[in-house]
Amino acid sequence: MDQKTMKKLVESISNTVKNFKKSEVECLIRLFHSLVERANVRLNNFGLDRNAFRAILHSVFGMTDDMLMNRVFFAFDKDNDNCINAKEWVKGLSVFLRGTFEEKLKFCFEVYYLNGDGYISQEEIFDMLKNSLHQQSSEEETDEGIKELVDITLKKMDYDNDGKISFADFEKAVKKDKLLLEVFGPCLPEAKVECQQLKLVKGTF
């Protein structure tokens, strides 16, 4: 990519993403391109597809849960074209690495509600928590345990008692106890990783 297009891209992204300095944005774009090149030699595509992105989430940010990584992918992919472009990449990372509490709150909620109705439903919670208990003696028992866990979560977070968690519910609960930010599974880089990545952004490029 030549200097000019690069500058333009940086300029346009910087207008929307406030958490990074311009130089940092440039670094991230370069990083993005190198990652795209590595992943898409064959496809000649201008973006990261889901598999490539998941690989990055796993290797760089230490995430392991496939389902959640998918959901993070969808949260990154704002225009729903199954592919993350440079802008989405920088934007997503700005929440990932420098996000304020509010931004992270929003991001997590987006990751957790999947069907797009703006609520996290009981079934979705069950889905997300179904691997959270170590295998007990029988499948039934484990299911029972998870159901109870779902009830506990709803009891804790569903303030308006409608059997699902709205953004307002989520916000209220998380503000009361920040530990609940990633209540249904890790979808943000760990604090440790976060620090390393920040250094990466600053230093390496």
Binding site: L129, I152, K155, L179
Partner: protein
């Protein structure tokens, strides 16, 4: 008429009823204690299963009344002393008395005497006491309980055939007695019926058949319930009570018939833990469920469980103990050892809350929680550090925990936390991070405050460089921060090293500044720290120079907060040791206020107020002031107290006032001298000495002092006998008092009759300059009567006196020279002095600038010389 009779009946009924009540609360007697001990012996020995390692009486001799305590202790109600060696703590020396069981001062190694003073709270019996002191004991005791119960059940299957066997067997007795404990705890009617049911086998089966059936049915349910409870610690056992219970059982039978219909609801468990469960089972089960998720869930499930556990009222003991009882503590502590930051935070948040409970603190330490928390202090995660430090602050409230923190290097790490506020000053986004760093430092200070209650930790904090950091933090203006910082400093200021450092680090300045804060707790700790540090003269001056005296004086006017008042008066006391400070205090009208505080205040305040007045009254103007404010009456009134420190201060203050003849009149009128004199009988040497010192100005300034002193029956004999004391301060003060008493010829005659001369002579071989001085003065006074001069010679007091002249203290020289001058009137004494080289020493003192010394030395030399001349003359003629 009828109504009257009914009322009378009701009265009788009530009386009987309450009598039965009272008869159940019988205090310990020798038999019960003996039985208790015999039974415990039965279950003691080496090995894991026994309840104790050993239990023994201190004395083999048993008096006819069953007591083993010596007769003079029996009048205090004490029955015997027992040496108990539990598995997990050191040997306890225990007093069993009629009031209950408590820890005494222990057996002293050398003499084998027991220090009878009470060192712990009183427990109602030996088993309760041991349960409190030894965790191992209560654990094993509960195991034993199960055994008791099993056997008891077996026997219950055929109670009708062998009711006698019951009595022969100690174990069921034990269990019966335990039901009595339940009863005592509950103090309600229901409990009685329950007990009676259990007592059933030992009753005489007078009851009708269907009554029996009814009861056996009840018993079944009882057993069922009981079986469920046995998993946890069983009820305490005090077997010795069995007989008593049996006696009262028949009385209770009556009540049984009244209330047997209600007895389904009476299952009140004796143990605290069970009580908790029975009250709030829902919370208990919910917590148990959550702990299950902690055990079997991944990070996500764990965090959810932790968060919802936090929603319980963790300040409530029920929840605290529920968490422990379902094994939650182990899991929470294990979580601290994982890599999951969120789990650690969640777990610490809970531990922080529940560690307000003393039992939980001990459990956390037992489970090895402290080393892990100490490690977390190294974490880069700030909120983790904070939580760990706060939890440590809660847990380290007892000695073993504080030691554990130190042994795992916690002190150094905590001190390092204090450093955060400084190092983070440079980065760009400081505002946000700054607040968090301050928080870290605050939590560190909080933990250090808890830890600083033990001596070794104070040392460790100092060695880790904590003082400069604390001094730095003291400059901040966050009240939350200042309180733990000043608290730590105040705690540590008990050590000399710290006081020096506090002076060097210019901490006093900031302490004074914070005296002006709005926060009462902060004021209190600042005043307390000043109180600790103001033993040192320079510090006292610093307090004045930084303007600390004024706020102290004005804080005196607010008397509602007694803790703060105690700290403030303490600071004033210590500061008023310096004369300049006293002048300031007078300026601020603090002395009047102090006099006003002499009444209606708690002892801690009084001690300090009186101490301050004692210092202030060293000056003439203040003495007048105290008299004019009516301070003498309350001071004299305080002479009848029992608090040792208070008495020392009061006697000093009264003594200081007595220097003024006018005040002396008031003291005399209020019978203050007699009160002082009776304090000579006080067991504490400090009080004795202080009282004797106070008597000196009293005798000097009282009108007709000789007559006054003679009036105290046995008083002179008492004071002469105090010369047998082995406390140097007492001896010196008594010598001084005797010097004053001996000014009156008649009194001198009396004390001579009481043998003052040999007693004084015996003291002559001392190296203590204070004693030497007053002893020499007393000797020189006592020479003025009869053949006392000769007697001092006979009792060999002269030669040691001569050696006093080699002392470095000018006061000793003067007093000794005067004594020698008096003694030299006797020829034999002159010879002794000469033999001991007195002449040369005295010759040197003739040139002293001190006129009295000059005169006495010269007089003594002239006496010696004259004798020599006379002898020579006699030889040649």
């Amino acid at each position: 008429m009828k109504v009257g009779m009914l009322l009378k009946q009701l009265d009788l009924h009530l009386l009987n009823h309450s009598l039965k009540h009272i008869s159940l609360q019988i205090c310990l007697n020798p038999t019960t204690v003996k039985n208790d001990i015999e039974l415990l012996k039965h279950f003691s020995g080496k090995g894991e299963q026994t309840v104790l390692e050993s239990i023994d009486y201190t004395s083999d001799y048993e008096f006819s009344n069953g007591c083993r305590a010596p007769p003079w202790r029996q009048i205090h109600g004490e029955i015997c002393y027992v040496l108990v060696k539990p598995h997990d703590v050191e040997t306890l020396c225990v007093t069993c008395s009629a009031e209950g069981v408590f820890l005494n001062g222990g057996k002293t190694e050398d003499e084998g005497e027991i220090n009878y003073e009470r060192k712990s709270e009183i427990y109602k019996d030996l088993v309760t006491f041991l349960k409190e002191k030894s965790a191992k004991f209560s654990e094993n005791m509960s195991k034993q309980d199960i055994r008791f119960t099993e056997e008891w059940k077996k026997e219950n299957e055929e109670p009708k055939e062998i009711p006698k066997k019951e009595e022969a067997d100690a174990l069921p007795k034990a269990f019966l007695a335990s039901s009595k404990n339940i009863l005592e705890k509950n103090q309600i009617n229901f409990g009685k019926t329950q007990m009676t049911k259990r007592l059933e086998p030992s009753l005489n089966w007078k009851a009708t058949v269907d009554f029996k059936e009814h009861k056996s049915l009840l018993r079944d349910t009882q057993e069922e319930k009981h079986g469920g409870r046995l998993e946890r610690a069983g009820p305490p056992v005090s077997p010795g009570r069995a007989q008593l219970v049996r006696k009262s059982a028949e009385k209770i039978e009556e009540i049984l018939s009244d209330s047997s219909s209600e007895n389904e609801e009476d299952e009140e468990p004796p143990d605290h833990r069970q009580e908790a469960n029975a009250d709030l089972p829902s919370e208990y089960w919910q917590i148990q469920k959550l702990v299950k998720y902690l055990k079997g869930g991944n990070q996500t499930a764990t965090v959810i469980a932790l968060c919802s556990m936090k929603d319980f009222n963790l300040a409530q003991e029920t929840c605290q103990l529920a968490i422990r009882d379902v094994g939650g503590l182990e899991v929470l502590i294990n979580l601290l050892d994982t890599d999951e930051v969120k789990c650690k935070i969640g777990s610490l948040k809970i531990l922080k809350e529940i560690s307000h409970n003393p039992q939980i603190r001990r459990n956390i330490v037992d489970l090895g929680g402290l080393p892990i928390m100490v490690n977390i202090l190294d974490s880069p995660h700030k909120s983790l550090k904070c939580l760990a430090a706060e939890t440590i602050a809660n847990v380290a409230k007892f000695r073993r925990a504080r030691r554990a923190v130190r042994h795992h290097g916690g002190i150094t790490k905590l001190v390092a936390l204090l450093d955060c506020a400084q190092s983070s000053a440079e980065p760009a986004q400081s505002s946000l991070y700054d607040a968090r760093d301050v928080e870290v430092a605050r939590c560190g200070a909080l933990a250090l405050w808890s830890c600083s209650k033990s001596y070794a930790n104070k040392e460790a904090i100092r060695k880790a460089g904590g003082i400069p950091l604390l001094a730095h933090l003291l400059k901040t203006s966050h009240e939350n921060m200042l309180i733990p910082v000043v608290g730590t400093l105040q705690e540590c200021a008990s050590e000399e090293n710290y006081r020096a450092a506090i002076k060097a680090e210019r901490i006093i300045e900031n302490l004074v500044k914070n005296l002006n804060s709005e926060n009462e707790q902060l004021q209190e700790h600042c005043a307390m720290a000043i109180y600790q540090c103001a033993e040192d003269k320079e510090t006292r001056d610093l307090v004045r120079l930084h303007g600390g005296l004024k706020p102290l004086a004005s804080l005196l006017n607010n008397t509602d907060n007694k803790e703060r008042l105690a700290a403030v008066t303490g600071a004033i006391w210590k500061c008023s040791i310096s004369k300049e400070n006293v002048t300031k205090f007078r300026e601020y009208k603090a002395i009047e206020t102090l006099v006003g505080l002499l009444t209606d205040q708690p002892e801690e305040v009084l001690v300090n107020v009186v101490g301050a007045l004692g210092e202030c009254c060293q000056e003439y103007e203040n003495r007048v002031l105290v008299r004019k404010c009516g301070g003498i009456q309350p001071l004299v009134n305080l002479l009848v107290g029992i608090n040792q420190t208070l008495l020392v201060n009061v006697t000093k203050a009264v003594g200081a006032c007595a220097v003024e003849p006018e005040s002396m009149m008031i003291i005399d009128r209020l019978d203050g001298v007699r009160l002082l004199w009776s304090l000579l009988k006080n067991p504490h040497p400090d009080v004795k000495a202080s009282a004797a010192w106070a008597l000196c100005p009293c005798i000097q300034n009282a009108k007709d002092a000789g007559e006054m002193v003679r009036c105290f029956v046995g008083g002179l004999e008492l004071i002469v006998n105090l010369l047998k004391s082995d406390n140097k301060e007492v001896l010196a003060s008594v010598c001084a008092a005797i010097t004053n008493i001996a000014k009156d010829q008649e009194n001198l005659a009396v004390i001579t009759d009481h043998g003052v001369v040999p007693l004084l002579s015996k003291l002559a071989n001392t190296n203590n300059d204070k004693l030497r001085r007053h002893l020499a003065e007393a000797i020189s006074r006592c020479c003025m009567w009869g053949r006392n001069r000769v007697a001092f010679g006979e009792y060999k007091a002269v030669a040691p006196l001569v050696r006093y002249l080699k002392s470095n203290d000018a006061n000793v020289h003067r007093a000794t020279a005067q004594a020698l001058y008096q003694l030299s009137e006797d020829a034999d004494n002159c010879i002794t002095m000469h033999e001991n080289g007195a002449v040369k020493l005295l010759l040197g003192m003739v040139g002293s600038p001190d006129q009295d010394l000059q005169e006495a030395a010269a007089g003594c030399i002239s006496n010696i010389r004259r004798l020599a001349l006379a002898t020579e003359k006699a030889r040649y003629t």
